[in-house]
Each structure stands twice: as structure tokens, then as C-alpha cells.
């Protein structure tokens, strides 16, 4: 008897959830949705930004550069900024985008986690007159307001060209990538291999993954050195600073390695330059989000802007180090940066 009563209660509660709640929503007044092709007339705008990942310093700084730039640069035209976080989850990336649309944002800045996952939703948002700025990652569509990125393939090419030249086109090169299965990791690797394949005397080791994680990259490097003590160069898309630390801890002679633009790398470079540490910064600056912001706001305010913005891979040599290095600030900061010193300390100390 008790069982039956409880069963009836459950049925009622489930019914409330699956039937009554949607009905309540269905009866609620529809949210105002901007019509397609309608010019944006508000004086102040609502902005949405999805933080695609906070798993490493680069992705964290990408978001923080944006937050600071919009707060400082557009206080008079931005009503409110809504931030969501996808944490590298494809489904959440899509859900967050849809939530920002439902929230009534006038413009959404988004980094697609895969090239396809947002295409349909971005089409719908564009139909509703919402501006969409895609940045930091590729997308299989050209239906957006603006696109801002640095080619991962090109990053792979430039970093491999540096190594090939530094080792005179011959030798054994370790290949350490980011996270398996991500588009960026595949594109950079393909770009690098397109260069190394032109050098018959360069022998690339099988690709391994550092997961853009400092400790994992160190372990991977230690394993590689145990198996291949005669490595001549290291192509890495994951934590070069950690790799250099392995060389220092084991008192090994340095081999050419591309840096990514982390303050720790700059400090190590300056400290060990005389002891043979050779590198070149091949950068995908985290200030890219600020470029995306300015382009997006120009579009929103009816100012001229470029729709396609493939930024060049940033190359810095040792001659630039004094402009890049932040000697008294934390290691994990990406340089160059627009963030002020106190903000950098707050974030990274």
C-alpha cells in the first residue's frame, strides 16, 4: 500500500517535471528576439563570451585579456557581459552558445571546440540578427560576423622550419603534441610534418602527447630522453618551459626547441643563453581575444571591419627578449600581454 502511494507521488512529481513545467514555459510571454536584418539600435549592448577552456595559462589569459579590454575600452557602450565556461566540452560549448542567445546577447564571442559543433546554432543566431565573432579556432562555415584566428597549421610550419634550420636539416627530432583528438593538435602536427618531410635526413620520433600540462609534459620528455638520449631537436606544442626544466635538472646539453611565449621561457632563455639554450618564440598570442573584441565591437557599432582576420604567427628572436620578458612577474604569464601588472599578479601569483 505504502509502495502504491509513493508510486502515485512519484508519477505526480515526474508529471510536473515533464509536462507542467514546459507548459508554464510555453505560456510565458515570449522573449523579445531581434528580427533578422534589423539594424542594432540600442545605445548599450549586451555581450556574451564563452571561455572555451581554463585548463592552462594560455586559455585563461585569453579570457582575461578580453575581460580587461572590454571593461577598460567599452564602458560606455556595454551594458553587461555574460561569461560562460565550456571547459573543453563540445556539448557544453554548444549549450553555452544557445544559452547566450537565449539570454538576449547582441554579440557573442565564441571559440568552437570542434569545427562543426556550432555551425547550426551560429546560423540560427545570425538569422536572429545577433553578431557572432568566431575566434581562436577553426570553423566549417563562413556564416559569421567576423573570424579571428592564427592558423595552427601555420604555427606547425613555422616552428618546424625553425628546428630544421637550427639542426642544419639533419638529426632526430622529438614530436610532443598537445591533447590527442583536438583539431589544434592535429593541424599543428600536420604543419610541422609538411616541413620535416622535405628533409630526408631528419628523423622524427613517433608523436607523443603532453596534454598542455606541465607535469605530463615533463614525464613524457623524461621517457623520451630515456629511450632516445641522442635527440637533436624538440618540436613541441606542449609546455616547452617544462621540457627545458628537464634538461636543466638532468644537466643535459640543450637542443633547439621553439618557445611559445611564456614568461618562464623568457627567463630561462635569458639565464641559459650563454650555456647554449637556443630558441625562437613561435607565438599564438593570447591577446588574440582583444583583436576579436575590437573587430566585434566595430561590427556592432556599424564601423568598418574585416570579416576574415587570419593573424600572422608571431615570431620573436632573442633580440626581442627585453621587450617580452617580465622579470619580476610570475612565470606562467604569456607575453606579450595588455594586462596591467597588478592584474597579472592577481591572476598568476
Amino acid at each position: 500500500m505504502e509502495s502504491k502511494i509513493k508510486l502515485i507521488l512519484i508519477s505526480t512529481l515526474v508529471l510536473i517535471f515533464v509536462a507542467v513545467i514546459p507548459a508554464m514555459y510555453g505560456c510565458a510571454p515570449a522573449a523579445e528576439e531581434p528580427a533578422a536584418e534589423e539594424p542594432v539600435v540600442e545605445e548599450k549592448f549586451t555581450v556574451g563570451y564563452d571561455i572555451y577552456w581554463v585548463g592552462n595559462a594560455w586559455s585563461l589569459q585569453l579570457a582575461e585579456e578580453f575581460k580587461y579590454a572590454i571593461q577598460e575600452g567599452y564602458p560606455d557602450v556595454v551594458e553587461e557581459v555574460f561569461y560562460t565556461s565550456s571547459d573543453g566540452d563540445v556539448s557544453r560549448n554548444l549549450a553555452n552558445f544557445e544559452d547566450l542567445v537565449a539570454k538576449g546577447c547582441d554579440i557573442i564571442f565564441i571559440t568552437p571546440i570542434t569545427p562543426d559543433n556550432l555551425v547550426k546554432s551560429i546560423n540560427d543566431a545570425m538569422d536572429k540578427g545577433i553578431k557572432v565573432v568566431v575566434f581562436g579556432s577553426a570553423i566549417e562555415s563562413d556564416n559569421y560576423t567576423a573570424f579571428v584566428n592564427i592558423s595552427d597549421y601555420e604555427w606547425g610550419v613555422k616552428s618546424a622550419e625553425y628546428i630544421a634550420e637550427a639542426i642544419d636539416g639533419k638529426g632526430k627530432v622529438a614530436m610532443i603534441n598537445g591533447i590527442a583528438g583536438t583539431g589544434a593538435a592535429v593541424d599543428t602536427y600536420e604543419g610541422a610534418m609538411s616541413v620535416f618531410e622535405q628533409y630526408p635526413d631528419i628523423n622524427t620520433l613517433p608523436e607523443v602527447y603532453g596534454d598542455w600540462d606541465s607535469s605530463k609534459t615533463k614525464i613524457v620528455m623524461q621517457d623520451l630522453l630515456a629511450a632516445h638520449p641522442d635527440i637533436d631537436g624538440i618540436w613541441t606544442f606542449s609546455e616547452p618551459g617544462s621540457i627545458i626544466e628537464v634538461y636543466i635538472e638532468n644537466n643535459l646539453p640543450f637542443v633547439p626547441i621553439p618557445f611559445h611565449g611564456e614568461n618562464r621561457e623568457m627567463k630561462l632563455w635569458k639565464q641559459y643563453k650563454d650555456k647554449g639554450l637556443e630558441s625562437q618564440v613561435v607565438g599564438k598570442p593570447s591577446t588574440m581575444s582583444v583583436d576579436a573584441l575590437h573587430i566585434g565591437m566595430a561590427a556592432l557599432m556599424g564601423e568598418p571591419y574585416e570579416k576574415e582576420n587570419m593573424l600572422p604567427v608571431a615570431i620573436y628572436t632573442y633580440d626581442d627578449i627585453d621587450d617580452l620578458i617580465l622579470p619580476d612577474l610570475p612565470d606562467r604569464i604569456r607575453v606579450p600581454t595588455y594586462l596591467p601588472e597588478d592584474k597579472l599578479r592577481e591572476l598568476f601569483e
Binding site: L7, L9, G26, A31, L94, A95, D116, A180
Partner: protein, 320 residues
């Protein structure tokens, strides 16, 4: 213990299971009312439509996890099966009706095979299901990455248009969820298979003594789990229009959390599968509501985790 006394023990557990579902749904409704009152945007039809469609894949996988948990197991391979499904749907299905049907047959066959292997290893080796299914997830994920390391391919438009079709605030995925839950609520509470699953999860020894074919039940549970995971994969693939080799990863733990919030336990033999829907809805609703409320995403993790802990504490009090 005789078969009858084993069954009467099960009935007591069932009553307890009903209580857990009641607590889950009361919590869900309270959370909903709070968000409804305080965040006007949350009330918009556009948002409810998003919310329901966002919940659907997790609700389906949570059900698969619930069935296995009731049977005393756990399935950590569901995430990899979801990823595998999206890759097959986006790369091996033709655009013709025949191609789609063959693709679906292939997906369900492979999913069944994965579930079957999980169950056979658990049956024959007595290695804990946690380890078996974790190892299987590595195997399946490895195959997925070997076959296609990057997101891509294209789900046949005719299939995805049907799967993601929306009418007003409802959509096909929600209808799929409702139908699947009704079917499994019936199976688990009214059929011999369901009763035997509770018996195996509650006490394997007594179940064996009562004449339950444990191996058969376990094979059924794990096949159901992976097939349901593949259904969730089809919904996801249709949502994003392509395959993604890592898309399923977050669903492994989320589905487990949803099922536990919904009243299932690691001990097995307890819980009413309808609770998993409530668990999935709580997780989805919290994420959506926090986005709508404009809470800083970093605080969202804390808030979301706190609410989930609260939901589980309420459930644990109920068990005392």
C-alpha cells in the same frame, strides 16, 4: 533464503527506492521554482527549449548507468561509446535511407558488442566492473582516435533534421527521452528481467540461490547500457552535425552523478530508474540557470558542485 523471501526483501528496497525518487524530484522542483522566480530570462520559451534539448543526451546516458547500477555494476565505457557513435554516424552512414539504416544497425551492433564483452569479462573473471569498463573505455576511445583523430565528417541531414526537430518548446530528443524512460520504468519495475536485475544487484548470492541466471542478467544490463549510450551519441551527433572523438568523455562521470543523485547506489539493488531523469535534469538545469543568471563561470563550478552535494546529502538522509 527462498525465492519468495528474496523477492519480499526486494519489495522493501523498492519502497526505499521510491522515496529517493521523491526526494530527487522535490529537490528538482524547488531548484526550478527558485530559478523561475529570481531569473526572468530563465522563463523564456527559447530557454526552456534549449534546456530540454540540452538535458536529453545526459538523461539517456544516465538511464543506461542507472540500469547497470541497479544490477550492481557500473559502466565507464559509455562516454567512449558515445564518441564512437558520433564518429560512425558522421563518417560511415550514407545519405540514402538504406545507408542510414545500415549505419544505425552498425552502431547498435557495435554498442551491443561492447556491452557484451564488458559483461562477459565481468562474469568470467570477477574483475570489478569499474576496472573492466574503464579498460574497455580506453580500448574504444583508442579505436575512435585511430579511426579519426579530429572532429569531422557529416551526419546525414535527413537524419539530423528529424532527430533535432523542434516544435514549440518540445523536440524529438525529449520525446525519445520520455518514451525510453516509460519503457524502462516498466521493464525495471514490472518485468522478470527488472526484478532479477534488482535481485542480482541487491545480493548476488541470494539471487543465485533463488534461481536467477546472473550471467544472463548482467549481459542484458551492459548491452542495454551501451545501446542507450549509442542512442545518446546519435542525438549528440545530430545536434552538432558531425562526429567528435572526445565528445563523450564528460558523459561518463556526469551520467554516474545523475544516476546517483536520482537514487541509485554503488551497492546496487536499489533505486528507481525514473530518478536518473531527475538527476540529469538537476545537473542540466543548474548549468543552464547559472548561465542565465550571469554568475561568473568560475563561481559556477563551486555553486554547481555545492548544489549537487546538497542533492546527494538529502538523498543520504533519506537512506538512514
Amino acid at each position: 533464503m527462498t525465492s519468495n523471501s528474496a523477492i519480499s526483501g526486494l519489495n522493501l528496497k523498492k519502497i526505499n527506492s521510491y522515496s529517493s525518487v521523491i526526494y530527487t524530484y522535490i529537490f528538482l522542483i524547488v531548484v526550478f521554482i527558485i530559478f523561475y522566480i529570481f531569473f526572468p530570462v530563465y522563463r523564456s520559451p527559447a530557454n526552456i527549449s534549449n534546456l530540454l534539448i540540452q538535458i536529453a543526451p545526459l538523461a539517456i546516458v544516465a538511464l543506461s548507468q542507472a540500469v547497470v547500477l541497479v544490477g550492481g555494476g557500473v559502466d565507464l565505457s559509455v562516454g567512449a561509446v558515445i564518441s564512437l557513435t558520433t564518429i560512425i554516424a558522421a563518417n560511415l552512414m550514407g545519405t540514402s535511407a538504406t545507408g542510414i539504416i545500415l549505419g544505425l544497425v552498425l552502431i547498435f551492433s557495435i554498442a551491443s558488442l561492447v556491452g557484451f564483452i564488458n559483461a562477459v569479462i565481468c562474469n568470467e573473471t570477477h574483475i570489478p566492473p569499474l576496472i573492466v569498463t574503464l579498460a574497455m573505455s580506453y580500448v574504444v576511445q583508442g579505436i575512435v582516435l585511430w579511426y579519426r583523430a579530429t572532429p569531422g565528417g557529416s551526419v546525414p541531414r535527413s537524419l539530423s533534421n528529424i532527430i533535432i526537430y523542434r516544435f514549440n518548446v518540445l523536440s524529438i530528443p525529449i520525446i525519445i527521452v520520455v518514451i525510453i524512460y516509460i519503457v524502462f520504468a516498466f521493464i525495471m519495475s514490472r518485468s522478470v528481467f527488472g526484478l532479477h536485475t534488482y535481485a542480482v544487484g541487491g545480493n548476488e548470492l541470494y539471487a543465485r540461490m533463488a534461481g536467477v541466471n546472473i550471467k544472463k542478467i548482467r549481459i542484458g544490463n551492459y548491452i542495454i547500457s551501451t545501446v542507450l549510450a549509442s542512442v545518446a551519441g546519435i542525438v549528440l551527433a545530430s545536434r552538432i552535425g558531425s562526429g567528435a572523438p572526445l565528445i563523450g568523455s564528460p558523459y561518463t562521470l556526469d551520467s554516474l552523478t545523475a544516476a546517483i543523485i536520482g537514487g541509485m547506489t554503488f551497492a546496487g539493488g536499489e533505486g528507481f530508474v525514473i530518478g536518473a531523469l531527475g538527476g540529469a535534469a538537476i545537473i542540466g538545469m543548474i548549468n543552464n540557470a547559472l548561465n542565465m543568471s550571469g554568475v561568473d563561470p568560475f563561481y559556477q563550478y563551486i555553486f554547481s558542485g555545492g548544489l549537487l552535494i546538497l542533492a546527494m546529502i538529502i538523498n543520504s538522509f533519506r537512506r538512514r
